[in-house]
């Protein structure tokens, strides 16, 4: 069931070609706008990918809600519906990340740890997908959810990363992992970045999954006892 849901979601997404084009273009804009400062460009690129993927995830989950309700009523496991969709969105996000990893590899020749850039982009996708799902569970309308994500991402770009509140933002790990990828002496950032990523991704996945299962699970009903009055009386 999980794979059927994932492949179905991939087909749906593949038919939204204009949306896919913008998902692909958004990180490019972020990257090009700071191309003069290579470490900034890579950090912005990661946040652009995170934003694009989270928005795609938000719209996908909000748009599927009625159909998922229908499927769960006739017996589809809510867990398979949730993780099947997440799997498809991660696949799309990793595709976008692979394209931009290639671009960085081609345009940035002096990076000390190119593998660190791959790690940065992959972890950003793995946070962005469940983050979009989580927002869709809290704010069940597309426009309001997109504005909420915009606020989070704007905060992510503007806040002082060394400030005490910065670690509460979902993509703080991108700053640490980008330091690891870009700076010669940035190896110390790896563990803090990975720890933040694991905690953030786990919270987003767990909360979104639990809320999704609670919402989609149909009301339990007993099978009818036989006998009793026949007919209707409103």
């Amino acid at each position: 069931m999980l794979l059927v849901v994932a492949s179905t979601v991939l087909r749906e997404i593949s038919r939204r070609r204009v949306a896919l084009l913008f998902i692909l273009l958004l990180p490019l804009v972020f990257y090009l706008v700071r191309i003069d400062v290579h470490w900034q460009a890579i950090r912005f690129l990661a946040i652009g990918i995170g934003w694009a993927v989270a928005t795609l995830s938000l719209f996908s989950h909000v748009g599927s809600r009625r159909m998922d309700e229908r499927l769960s009523v006739v017996g589809a496991p809510p867990t398979a519906l949730f993780f099947g969709r997440q799997l498809a969105l991660v696949a799309v996000g990793l595709g976008v990340a692979a394209v931009y990893f290639g671009l960085v590899a081609l345009t940035q020749s002096e990076l000390p740890r190119l593998g660190g850039v791959a790690l940065l982009l992959v972890t950003t996708v793995l946070i962005g997908v469940p983050l979009g799902a989580l927002v869709s569970m809290v704010i069940t309308r597309e426009l309001e959810g997109a504005l909420a994500l915009l606020s989070v991402m704007a905060l992510q770009l503007l806040v002082d990363p060394d400030g005490p509140m910065a670690k509460l933002l979902p993509l703080w790990s991108t700053r640490e992992l980008s330091a690891y990828a870009i700076q010669e002496h940035g190896a110390g950032s790896l563990s803090s970045g990975l720890l933040h990523f694991v905690v953030t991704a786990s919270i987003c996945v767990a909360v979104a999954w639990i809320v999704s299962v609670v919402r989609l699970s149909p009301v339990r009903m007993l099978p009818p006892s036989q006998g009793g009055p026949v007919g209707a009386d409103g």
Binding site: M1, V4, V5, T8, R11, E12, R15, R16, S64, R66, M67, E69, R70, L71, V73, V74, G75, A76, P218, V219, R220, M221, L222, P223, P224, S225, Q226, G227, G228, P229, V230, G231, A232, D233, G234
Partner: protein
């Protein structure tokens, strides 16, 4: 247009309307022969082939329903609603509703806008929790909501595969079964068209087919015929009675009162303030 052109056009449109190819050839040949015997061009006798095909296909399907009616036997209770009340905050939508439906019966829920018809159906489906009272029902159900019953970006075959996977069917079997059920509603799904490109009536036919794909014991339908033309509407009711004759319980929300003489139970809901 020559008579043979008209005949071949009729044949094509009959197949598109869900008639088996062999039967379509025979029907088209018979129609052309009758026109020839009357000394008329088929177009002037029957009208355009496309319009005549729709009428003919509908008649053939209806004849197959009445030609071999199954013996009706009331089966086990598939749904029992007892004293169900629903209130949203202070606004009461349903009050003390009772309904018992057995396998092999059709019940219609009727009532004015805002009387709680869809709310009751959602409670029976398990989407909405009743404020008080109880609902007992069989676990194998089919459900067709009034809105958003299909996914705009999926083809009919992809819908069949997705719902078939829920019921443990192979993809091939799901598509074959879905296509056959669609034909009973006078529709032949195309492989390359997504739901958003279908007409409103055809989207609703897909909605209905998805509700019966698993041969359920209980079928819940919320005004699923919106957008149907007259023939499709008649096909839909024939299909409802075909399900009933096949042993399913059918609960349908409707505001079309002229079909109620054929159903087994009518549950009339009134806005709670007025009752």
């Amino acid at each position: 247009m020559t008579a043979s052109h008209w005949e071949s056009e009729l044949r094509v449109h009959l197949v598109e309307a869900g008639i088996e190819a062999v039967e379509a050839v025979e029907l088209a040949r018979d129609a052309a022969a009758e026109a020839e015997a009357a000394g008329l061009h088929p177009d002037s006798m029957y009208g355009p082939a496309v319009a005549y095909a729709a009428t003919l296909a509908s008649t053939v399907r209806r004849a197959s329903v009445t030609a071999a009616p199954l013996a009706r036997e009331l089966g086990a209770v598939v749904l029992r609603v007892s004293g169900v009340t629903k209130a949203y905050r202070r606004r009461q939508v349903l009050r003390e509703v009772d309904l018992t439906l057995r396998a092999g019966e059709v019940a219609a829920i009727v009532g004015a806008n805002g009387s709680g018809k869809s709310t009751l159906l959602n409670i029976c489906a398990g989407l909405t929790r009743a404020s008080s009272g109880s609902v007992e029902r069989t676990s194998r159900i089919g459900y067709a909501p009034q809105h958003d019953g299909v996914s705009a970006l999926l083809t009919p075959a992809e819908h069949f595969r997705l719902f078939g996977a829920v019921y443990g069917m192979s993809p091939k079997k799901s598509v074959a079964l879905g296509t056959r059920l669609a034909a009973q509603l006078g529709w032949r799904p195309r492989k390359d068209v997504v739901a958003s490109q279908l007409s409103g009536g055809t989207q609703q036919k897909l909605n209905v087919v998805l509700a019966e794909l698993n041969r359920p014991d209980l079928i819940l339908l919320d005004e699923p015929y919106q957008g149907f033309d007259q023939d499709s509407y008649l096909d839909f009711w024939d299909q409802v009675f075909r399900w009933r004759d096949g042993g399913a319980g059918v609960l349908v929300v409707t505001h079309m009162l002229h079909d109620l003489d054929r159903v087994d139970h009518v549950l009339e809901l009134r806005p709670v303030e007025e009752s």
